[in-house]
């Protein structure tokens, strides 16, 4: 009898220990999962912020004779141009549809043409005009959903 009582204590301790370890491992798993998801989120958000910081677009010259807007990218990341519109300064901006218009590599070795009409929307009216170009870093651009990281886009707006 005494022997049996001793065994039950051992079993009780073993069971309690096992339960504790199981609960601990469960908690560990939960916390690890949360931490992993948070880490991925933090890294992703940081990358988007950095991509935006690296994005710069310049409108070099508008060739009104040929209908071409020349842009270049002095930044550190390739850009995807999502919208381009030229409209009278006194008027409201036209409705914008976001789509991949052109890719501009991060290099000042060349300027990229955006044809007025096909790639750059022109709203005629009273001068002066304003050009508005929206672009996003190619590293955070999703071709299937161009507006996925729209809050990290850059906008170039200047008088022309």
């Amino acid at each position: 009898m005494r022997k049996g009582r001793g065994v039950s204590y051992v079993v009780t301790v073993a069971i309690m220990t096992a339960v504790t370890i199981a609960l601990g491992l469960f908690l560990w798993g939960i916390v690890s999962g949360w931490a992993g998801v948070s880490a991925i989120g933090i890294v992703a958000e940081t990358n988007k912020g950095i991509a935006q910081q690296r994005s710069i677009l310049v409108v070099e010259f508008i060739d009104w004779g040929r209908g071409i807007v020349w842009v270049s990218n002095p930044g550190k990341v390739d850009l995807v141009i999502l919208s381009c519109a030229i409209y009278p300064k006194s008027a409201s901006p036209p409705p914008i549809s976001y789509r991949e218009i052109a890719r501009v590599n991060a290099s000042m070795n060349s300027a990229y043409p955006l044809e007025i009409g096909s790639k750059c929307q022109l709203v005629t009216g009273q001068k002066p005009y304003v050009i508005e170009i929206r672009a996003i870093a190619s590293t955070i651009y999703n071709p299937n959903n161009p507006l996925e990281n729209a809050q990290w886009m850059i906008m170039v707006r200047q008088n022309v």
Binding site: V13, M16, Q53, D63
Partner: protein
Amino acid sequence: MCRRNVGQRRGVSAIAGGAIVLAIFFMVIVPLVILMQNSYALFLNESNSRRIFDTDRMSESLTVGVSQDVITKKLTLLLSNDGPVNVRIVRVWAIDVVRQTSIPMAKPCLEGELLSLPPGGNGTLDVQTCVNGFTGIVQFLAVTERGRIFSSNKIYLKEGGLIDIVFPYTLTVSIINMKKGRMYEVYVTPLGNGKVSPEKFTHKATASNENVTVAFGIFPGNYSVALYENGKLVQIPEGNPQLIEVPDKQAVIFILNRGPIISLSLDVIIIAPKMVKEKSFFTVEVDVQLSDKANESVTITSVGNILVTSDLPPGQFSSDCSYYGGFSILPGEREIVALCSISVGEKGTGTKSIEISVPAGTIYGIGEESGISYTNEPESTTIKVT
């Protein structure tokens, strides 16, 4: 024995639980915090890098001039880095200003690593190939590596070369009665197809009531001629800006609302004691002062005799005056013109006095700008001898 064993084993789960909590802390929470800090540091580093880039970009300054080689007759861009950072030119556009299109083709005039200019450095680029055979108005745009664009003046080209335009008419613009120290700007702006050179004239008046006349080469047409004083449009009865049609009108005169220079009397100041004792010696100083309302400086050319008279007994009074002239005084300024040494002997009975008088016209000056005369009003003072 059994109780002791149970008591010892009770702590096993506590130890296991504690170990797991510690493991969670050090293997999950701590790396997560480090990752967050690292991400934040990376973002700050990138923001800082962008800030430095933007500062450098805004610090870029480039002067773009166009010139023609005297010997080869090639059109050359003169680039001068007058900013504090190194500037690298990566592209040059040649623009047909009238048509707002690039020449000669739909691409930059020059492209690639063209020129790198250190602060204060100068360089040239041959742009003749871009404008060969072109006739019209051209402007060049220089694009830097940081994305800044600097433009040249607009120039007239004829078959790819600079031409000297001969203007058929001359427009003269006169500004009368300028105020000393003010900056005057004349803008002649074509209203339509006219052409004028230069379009702006700047002059700083170095003297009061200064007049200036400037000539502009001009083509027939309608123009607006505006005069600014220290950046503000001048209000005059004739109207400003004035609208003219060349060749019907080829002269514009802006008479500013200021009176002509008029002569003011010179103020005489006699510095003398009110009272002196007999058997004494003293000096009297005579100064001249130009009113601060005067519009010009005056040169004191001559100083006449200053009268020193006394009712002292004969032989008991003597005076000797020294006169100074040939100097210039500014409005509000005061200078000495005479210094008289007076010696007084015994006065005898009764009250005696010495009178110092400067008659009208004793001090004579000439206005340095107008040439008109300035003289003094009479002035006198009496010194009692006790």
